[in-house]
Symmetry: C2
Subunit: 193 residues, 2 copies
């Protein structure tokens, strides 16, 4: 029988920044400061925080995650869409930003207007290749994720991402965790179709 049990950690709204935007927001030559390592190898939460702004509101204290990326993106919660007053915000895989939403970022030393980059992260499971084999899943395969319990649910259309740089971990966001009454460090089951 293939493995099914997977660790779930919950993501709050957060931001990834390009080198150019790190400098625009925090000053020329600025380097992101590691606050703590995340479970995915090489990924870390930073001390740096920004404010994000939409047409009708702003949200302060949005955490930067490092390291820097090629393109800036901000992953928000469905519940943030109304607060910011953005007309829409598509569910997207990380890094797939075409047609995503415009927004403004304010850092301690400057602000940047982005034409795109505001997304709701698609639910996903990170697999290292050995785990992917044990679970019987392939990169980009869509599976379902069952969370048991009194407030349980089966989340549909969860994308599997397989890469030797990854550790086995499912990422849901705070809205999804709250909907089933779980916190980070819970477990779910991958259901293949």
């Amino acid at each position: 029988m293939p493995e099914t049990k997977v660790l779930i950690n919950l993501s709050n709204r957060h931001m990834h920044l390009s080198r150019e935007d790190v400098e625009a927001l925090f000053g020329p030559g600025h380097q992101l400061t590691k606050l703590k390592d995340l479970l995915q190898p090489g990924q870390f939460a930073c001390e740096e925080l920004v404010t994000i702004k939409g047409p009708k509101g702003s949200i302060a204290n949005v955490r930067i995650l490092g390291p820097e990326r090629k393109e800036t993106q901000c992953e928000i919660l469905s519940s943030d869409v109304f607060r910011l007053g953005v007309p829409t915000c598509p569910p997207r895989e990380s890094g797939k930003l075409d047609g995503s939403t415009s927004f403004v970022i304010e850092g301690s030393k400057g602000s940047v207007k982005k034409d795109k980059g505001l997304i709701i992260a698609k639910r996903h499971v990170h697999f290292d290749p050995a785990s992917a084999e044990a679970f019987g899943v392939k990169d980009n395969e869509l599976v379902d994720l069952r969370v048991d319990g009194e407030r349980g649910a089966v989340f549909l259309n969860v994308i599997c991402r397989v890469n030797s740089a990854y550790a086995l971990e499912c990422h849901l966001d705070f809205d999804e965790g709250n909907a089933v009454g779980i916190g980070s460090g819970s477990y779910g089951h991958v259901v293949r179709r």
Copy 2:
């Protein structure tokens, strides 16, 4: 084939008050003031708002729903548990308050400390008897509720409530709606077990 399609409306945190607590919070003889009718016959949102308090925080502008009930209860979101700092808050059917959480209510004319009554509402579907027959469900039956779409999910353990005073309607809360990216007025499908 039985019917499956059901209207979903989302509940924000809200409160139902006993006569005694209406008077304690808004003054002797006070009557709740209807703001607008809800879909369930005889139920209405009130102009009155209260603040609820837990050990570590408070939440203002919590809407009262009428009419008065035998016992005061406050239905909060999973995301409110941390804000209030209450140690736990059980998922409960409306009116089943034994062992639920203690909290404080502040109205315009006074405040009340409740030993119980703070709950997270269990997902539920209201059925009039004819609809229950068309869907093939009985009072207190547990079903699942499928919400389609890119961020779809199947919510497990949704309780069916059948009563001639009810209209056909599924109640999820804001956390659950946000998790699947829907608003009030969406549709789901009842899945019998």
